[in-house]
């Protein structure tokens, strides 16, 4: 609808500046952090004065200033990666295979390699800063026959490898914990106070994660340490000093001072990165106030009603919705602009645009929930996928529908291949257009009952398979599902239906790998429910904005512009309420996620569905308590009126 330059406008003028500001602050915070790190790494109980003087002289030294420059570069790089990879809608892997796919995605591999390299750089800086035995990679040593030569300083190497390991594990954990997800807080705070409040948590998280990373690193180095060591020795033509302890042994690794320095360095590394991330999150999610009506100096594209309808970039849409929700709550003057009429013509363009967009969001979610529920509730009772009309009939699983399907070209294969195999491999084909983007792994047969689309056929055409309805039974019978595993693995998600009945789907012998993969493809519980509500923050704001605006319209709307849309607002909210209620009756939908406090992971996306449910109810109550019995004058269906009466009597 809009040229791409308008969406670029926001990224260019706002998001980049916010990212730049956050990176600048993280670079500015680097010197004090480094000073604390130097102090902690040099500290000794016995010589406190000496420690301080040593630290001071070190902080002035040229090598530390060079380290600063390097660290600053690393922080800027981390900031750029944050800007490049951040997302406001989390990607939720519905199965372990999908998670693996995310990890091996080229984009992610690039990020992991970059983090690894930056880890090495930070490791080098730490080694140089701590000094003493860690300082250089080469050290003079004597060979067995007494000739002086350059030997490998294993301590230094350990620091570099630890840095790489911590960086790599940070990036991997980032994928599983959705660390790139930027959530919006319900509580608005000034940036400084927000940062101050989160600082202890960041410190705790980085210390704990550094501890676990170093533990894992020690184990990995114990078993695999000789590989990088010999490689380095060969390429740099260094010699191993046989007179000192090898570090990939038990005695070498149980060196408290080494472990302490490694832990402190890893904490320092993670802390600087987390601070960058935290600052980025705080700056990006800051409220941006869009003008409601264009003034002469402003581009009309930058106004709230126009910006709301943009689909891309997502951050723009989210910030616009956040601003809308806040203005509807707090700002009577801006609400007045929303309710105002256009000057020549007298049309409520602003309100129309705002309400249309919010209602479209709600309708979209309702439709998504209904589609999901239909596929799940039929519990594998299939629907034909090729056309809408067939879908309807076959879902009724009547004999006639079966006959209809038999007429279509596909079922000829049914008679030859075992029906279950066919059904499942076929299910890997087309997505239902609505659910597909939100439940990424719909194509796996066990991922959700969405997929077994053909049991109707199975039922009637081959009674032998009549019992293969429930996923539990299917799992119990390995023969039935393992046969199809190969075709599952080989099939890429967006296959066309035509490619399905290919000869390679003949039953083959179950292989161990196939079985293993199949097991991994089983759904993580409640993940599909999470995925369904992944972008619900937008819906929450839309609900809040609508309900507050309607509440305010009771007294502030002078031209009655809201009254025209009140019936549709109420009906779409009640529709959504119905769909949400039905969704929460599904298994796993109402189970609470496990949360741990010691991680930078943002848990908000896991509980968005609960937040949406609560906001929806509150929104309806807000309207019913404001309007009271006046709502009886609003036209709506009998069913909705009954539901609304329940709300009016506070019985929901």
């Amino acid at each position: 609808m809009f040229p791409s330059e308008t969406s670029c406008w926001f990224i260019r003028k706002v998001i980049w500046w916010r990212a730049a500001a956050s990176i600048a602050w993280s670079v500015l915070l680097l010197p004090p952090t480094t000073a604390v790190f130097v102090f902690l790494s040099k500290f000794s109980f016995l010589h406190p004065i000496q420690t301080i003087s040593e630290c001071l002289s070190l902080l002035m030294s040229s090598c530390l200033i060079f380290s600063f420059i390097l660290l600053g570069g690393v922080v800027i790089m981390v900031g750029f990666l944050n800007l490049e990879y951040y997302t406001v809608i989390p990607t939720i892997a519905c199965s372990k295979i999908a998670l693996l796919g995310q990890l091996l995605h080229p984009r992610q591999v690039v990020s992991s390699v970059a983090h690894c390299l930056m880890g090495v750089i930070v490791g080098w800086c730490c080694a140089v800063t701590v000094g003493n035995r860690y300082k250089t990679l080469g050290c003079p040593c004597k060979s067995s026959d007494g000739v002086p030569q350059m030997g490998l300083n294993e301590y230094h190497l350990v620091f570099l490898l630890a840095g790489a390991f911590v960086g790599f594990s940070h990036s991997l954990l980032g994928v599983t914990h959705n660390i790139n997800y930027v959530s919006f807080h319900a509580v608005q705070q000034y940036k400084y106070l927000h940062f101050k409040g989160s600082l202890p948590l960041v410190l705790k998280c980085s210390a704990i994660q550094a501890f676990y990373s170093i533990r894992n690193f020690a184990v990995a180095y114990f078993f695999l340490g000789y590989i990088p060591k010999t490689w380095i020795c060969k390429t740099l033509n260094l010699h191993l000093d046989s007179s000192v302890h090898r570090l990939d042994s038990i005695t070498g690794l149980v060196d408290l001072s080494l472990l302490y320095h490694l832990w402190i360095s890893a904490t320092f590394l993670l802390f600087t990165w987390y601070i960058t991330l935290l600052l980025f999150r705080i700056f990006v999610t800051e409220v941006y106030s869009f003008p409601v009506q264009p003034t002469f100096t402003q581009d009309p594209h930058q106004c709230l009603p126009r910006v709301l309808t943009d689909q891309q970039p997502m951050i723009l849409k989210f910030l616009a919705l956040q601003d809308l929700a806040l203005l509807s709550k707090h700002s009577p003057s801006r609400r007045g602009e929303v309710f105002s009429l256009s000057q020549p013509g007298g049309h409520p363009h602003n309100w129309n645009a705002v309400s249309r967009e919010c209602l479209a969001l709600l309708a979209d979610l309702t439709q998504r929930l209904v589609a999901y529920h239909e596929t799940v509730a039929t519990n594998g009772r299939a629907k034909s996928l090729s056309s809408g009309s067939e879908r309807k009939t076959s879902s009724d699983t009547s004999l006639t529908s079966c006959a209809e399907d038999l007429v279509s070209p596909r079922p000829t294969f049914l008679t030859k291949t075992p029906a279950s195999v066919f059904a499942r491999s076929f299910a890997g084909g087309p997505h239902s257009p609505l659910t597909a983007p939100f439940t990424p792994d719909l194509d796996s047969p066990f991922s959700s009952p969405t997929l077994r689309r053909f049991p109707g056929l199975v039922d009637q055409c081959s009674p032998w398979h009549g019992s293969v309805q429930s996923p539990h039974i299917m799992r119990r019978a390995p023969k039935l599902w393992s046969t199809s595993a190969e075709s599952q693995v080989s099939s890429s998600p967006p296959r066309s239906p035509a490619s399905v009945p290919s000869p390679k789907q003949e039953p083959t012998k179950p292989s161990f790998v196939a079985q293993f993969l199949q097991n991994r493809k089983e759904q993580l519980p409640e993940a599909s429910s999470q995925a369904l509500f992944a972008d619900s923050q937008a819906h929450i704001w839309a609900l809040e904005a609508l309900s507050y605006l309607v509440q305010a319209s009771f007294t502030e709307d002078q031209f009655g512009v809201v009254q025209t849309t009140l019936p549709s607002i109420l009906s779409s909210m009640l529709h959504l309420q119905e769909a949400v209620d039905r969704h929460f009756k599904l298994p796993h939908a109402s189970s609470k996620p496990v949360r741990s406090a010691n991680s930078m992971e943002d848990f908000t996306y896991k509980t968005l569905r609960f937040a949406l449910r609560a906001t929806l109810k509150t929104a309806i109550y807000r309207i019913t308590t404001t309007f009271g019995s006046h709502l009886n004058a609003v036209q709506m269906s009998a069913e909705h009126r009954k539901r609304l009466q329940q709300f009016l009597e506070f019985k929901e």
């Binding site: 807080h185 319900a186 509580v187 608005q188 705070q189 000034y190 106070l193 409040g197 709550k329 707090h330 700002s331 009577p332 003057s333 809040e544 509440q551 305010a552 009771f554 007294t555 502030e556 009655g560 009254q563 025209t564 609470k592 949360r595 406090a597 848990f603 908000t604 509980t607 968005l608 609960f610 937040a611 449910r613 609560a614 906001t615 109810k617 509150t618 109550y621 807000r622 308590t625 404001t626 309007f627 009271g628 019995s629 006046h630 004058a633 609003v634 506070f650 019985k651 929901e652």
Partner: protein, 515 residues
């Protein structure tokens, strides 16, 4: 300013106030049987009927702990139960099994810790209290630990209420249904406060000793004992005991406070996430009260300091008091005035906030000084039974949702017979000038807790919980002098009161559209 000297003398014993009608209070003989029949919501919980806990958990633990466990097991258990100090304590006490240097070291560390905490305690005396004493100290209920009814909450929109009893159970009464569900939960101990979520039919937040519980009581359910699965548990390390909670009037957020935690928690209940808002001074937060328009929160601390938070960007104003901590406070319906009382003083102060929610927070000018609006110093009344002294320190304040009646619970002196705890009711007039008119002082058995009904149609309805376990409701019938709320009879106190023009009645809704 007014004082108790202007009040009519209190009633003779045996008489209680029944209601206010035609601008005067009617009293009658204290015949509880007859009144029990007349009003279904007047309840009586005799102390004997409650099954009380005979022993606390720690005492039963000592009886069952198997001392033949290994040192490792005991240390792990001590770490789990008592944290670091528990572990040190365990090591120090079992000196026969551990090396001498270890037990000596842990003993030294323990002594050091105790010394530091005693220093902390001398700075903030309340941290040395046990959590039960602390709740009793900071609760709005008079003499909380001995109270049969420990907490009470009207639902903000309907005629139901929740009552917390001495045995830590919560009962919900609704005049429209015969079922009164009883809520019990393993973690529901020493309940300090309960509050219903606004704009919701079912959610009830409960402040317990170690956590917050949010019950979801389905109003249509026929079950009398909802399972503990209906309760969400919200806890945060270090945030206990919870002595006060407050829902935002828009129903979206819940704040909780603990005297041992310097940060106040803002909970997003559905997502079970919290944002700690920390300000170090004061040593904790004891009492919270959210203004009805949602723009400010009063947060008092155990020291002579309280804060008023602004809820848009969550910044706060510090208000140091001279004498003691802020004991209680309440907001006027439009959120523009705050009345509060200070421990050790016998007056009610008022603060006026002029900032409306629409103004950017930087421009909001807070009040400069608090003014004294009522003097409640001790006054002697002559009565047939002898002199009665009324007045003194104030336990809690409650303002009716229309802003016309203010009920004040005076502590009295439990030792002296002629100084009973008493409720004084003021008529208040907020516009054009704020003033308090004395109305009535009411003696009784021992009032412990008071709360106004949030939307009583004919004036105000004051609910009083008595020391005997009785709950009575005293209606005040009057015509509101302020805004006439046509068509809003069942609505909650609406937010944005200041922005809305006062003539609801002139608006016609749903006019026919002519296009």
């Amino acid at each position: 300013m007014c004082s108790l000297a202007l009040f009519p003398p209190p009633l003779p014993s045996g008489q209680t106030t029944l209601c206010e009608s035609n601008n005067e209070l009617l009293s009658g003989a204290n015949n509880s049987e007859a009144r029990q029949d007349s009003s279904p919501l007047s309840l009586h919980f005799p102390r004997e009927s409650l099954k009380l806990h005979s022993r606390t958990e720690s005492s039963s633990k000592a009886a069952f702990l198997d001392h033949s466990e290994t040192l490792w097991m005991r240390s792990a258990a001590a770490w789990r139960d008592g944290g670091f100090t528990g572990l040190l304590n365990e090591i120090t006490t079992s000196h026969a099994e551990v090396p001498k240097w270890l037990s000596v070291t842990s003993g030294c560390i323990l002594a050091l810790l105790r010394w530091v905490s005693s220093f902390h305690g001398s700075l903030y005396p309340h941290v040395t209290l046990s959590s039960e004493d602390m709740i009793a100290e900071f609760s709005q209920v008079l003499n909380w630990s001995d109270c049969v009814v420990r907490a009470f909450a009207w639902h903000p929109h309907t005629d139901k209420f929740a009552v917390t009893l001495l045995d830590d159970s919560i009962k919900i009464y609704n005049p429209k249904s015969a079922i009164s569900p009883t809520l019990k939960h393993r973690l529901q101990k020493n309940v300090a406060a309960v509050q219903w979520k606004p704009l919701c039919a079912s959610a009830l937040a409960v402040a317990c000793q170690n956590c917050l519980l949010v019950w979801n009581v389905d109003p249509c359910s026929l079950s009398t004992r909802p399972s503990s699965g209906c309760a969400q548990v919200l806890s945060h390390p270090g945030h206990s005991p919870v002595t006060s909670i407050a829902w935002s009037p828009s129903g979206s957020l819940l704040v909780s406070a603990s005297p041992l935690d310097t940060s106040m928690m803002v909970w997003d209940v559905a997502a079970e996430s919290c944002v700690p808002l920390q300000r170090v001074g004061g040593g904790g937060v004891t009492f919270l009260s959210w203004s009805p328009d949602g723009s400010h929160i009063l947060a008092s601390t155990p020291s002579a300091l309280f804060r008023v938070w602004e809820t848009r960007m969550w910044t706060c104003e510090r208000w140091p008091c001279i004498k003691g901590r802020c004991q209680s406070g309440c907001w006027s319906p439009d959120g523009s005035r705050l009345l509060f009382t200070v421990q050790g003083e016998m007056v009610i102060y008022a603060l006026t906030f002029s900032g409306s929610p629409g103004v950017p927070p930087g421009l909001v000018k807070g009040p400069q000084i608090a003014v004294v609006v009522a003097d409640l110093s001790e006054t002697t009344f002559n009565s047939p039974d002898g002199d009665i002294i009324v007045g003194g320190e104030i336990q809690s304040l409650s303002w009716d949702p229309r802003g016309e009646r203010l009920a004040v619970l005076l502590k009295g002196d439990p030792g002296a017979a002629n100084r009973p705890a008493i409720i004084a009711v003021f008529k208040t007039r907020a516009n054009p000038v704020f003033e308090l008119l004395p109305w009535y002082g009411e003696p009784g058995a021992e009032p412990r807790l008071l709360q106004f009904h949030p939307n009583f149609q004919h004036g105000a309805l004051l609910t009083v919980c008595w020391s005997s376990g009785k709950i009575t409701h005293i209606p005040f019938y009057f015509l509101s002098s302020g805004v006439s709320q046509v068509g809003l009879s069942r609505s909650p106190p609406l937010p944005h009161q200041q922005e809305r023009p006062a003539d609801f009645s002139n608006q016609s809704l749903f006019t026919e559209l002519i296009s």
